[in-house]
Symmetry: C2
Amino acid sequence: MEELKKIITLLSQFPGIGRKTAERIAFFILKMDEGKVKELSSAIVLWRQLVKPCPLCFNITTRERCEICEDPKRERDTLCVVEDASDLYAIENTHSYKGLYFVLGGVIKDEGTKRALRLKELEERVKRDKIKEVIIATNPTTEGELTALHLAKLLKPFGVKLTRIARGIPFGAHLELADSITISQALEGRKEI
Amino acid sequence: MEELKKIITLLSQFPGIGRKTAERIAFFILKMDEGKVKELSSAIVLWRQLVKPCPLCFNITTRERCEICEDPKRERDTLCVVEDASDLYAIENTHSYKGLYFVLGGVIKDEGTKRALRLKELEERVKRDKIKEVIIATNPTTEGELTALHLAKLLKPFGVKLTRIARGIPFGAHLELADSITISQALEGRKEI
């Protein structure tokens, strides 16, 4: 059926949705109340239309500034630099960080991707807001590490404390299943107990 | 962020989408072209609005009758009874069945679900269209087997050949990992080679 193929193709463009899941969703929609389907569909369009980057930290927001930048309880001299807003929410969900953020907009892969990053905006932010510590929380991938090194070089002249999130064996994981880079980083980053 | 929570809740109502995948999809939508998001959203609404059950076999269709019922190349005296339209497409994808279908609309769980099934419509279909063989292809679950037995009893008076899809060890699976019911059904259904 043509229409089924079309809806499966549309749905399977999303991350984490294969053709089999897309098909299950397509049949699920047919059993949904028509009003609910309309509600969902406008929510998706509104989500795309109303959400903009916060001009201060580039987190997503529907207001003038994001709720983290607006929150008077956050420590304003600590800045955590992440690749994307989704990384910011991963950190927020831990409830263990009380400073502010800066969303870089990706990682350095080449000169083109480097130009697309908010490097100028980050420098200005650090200077203007008298930031004392910058936590570099790009992902521990090859490109994330390269970007972290570049940021460290870039921010050194501002005399801020520069830190990098710890690498090691993830909680609940087993040594025998971890790759050798992770194991050597866990050894390197060992702490006295 | 309230809007993020809302969109995650909406998306994670779908089968196969957990909160983590819903979040990834939410961020993916923000990076999509606005026109593409609108296109997707109307495609979902149209899919729900235009797709109706075929009056003959209750497969999904946007036309008066579904394309399988309309296809002159299908064998018109063989009927394969499935629980849902999604099962019908699972069979169609094998390209190994050339007869027609009948979508029952579920399985018997109790008197209520039994009343909701298209049992009358199935009887009429078998009688009116001079069906010679009915393949009962409900799922090999407890309820699917119960429903299959009920259908067999119901259709016996019409003098049609009644068959049930084979149960056994699935292709690519291992005996040591199969459950004992499956293994005994595979032994019971053994064929000479």
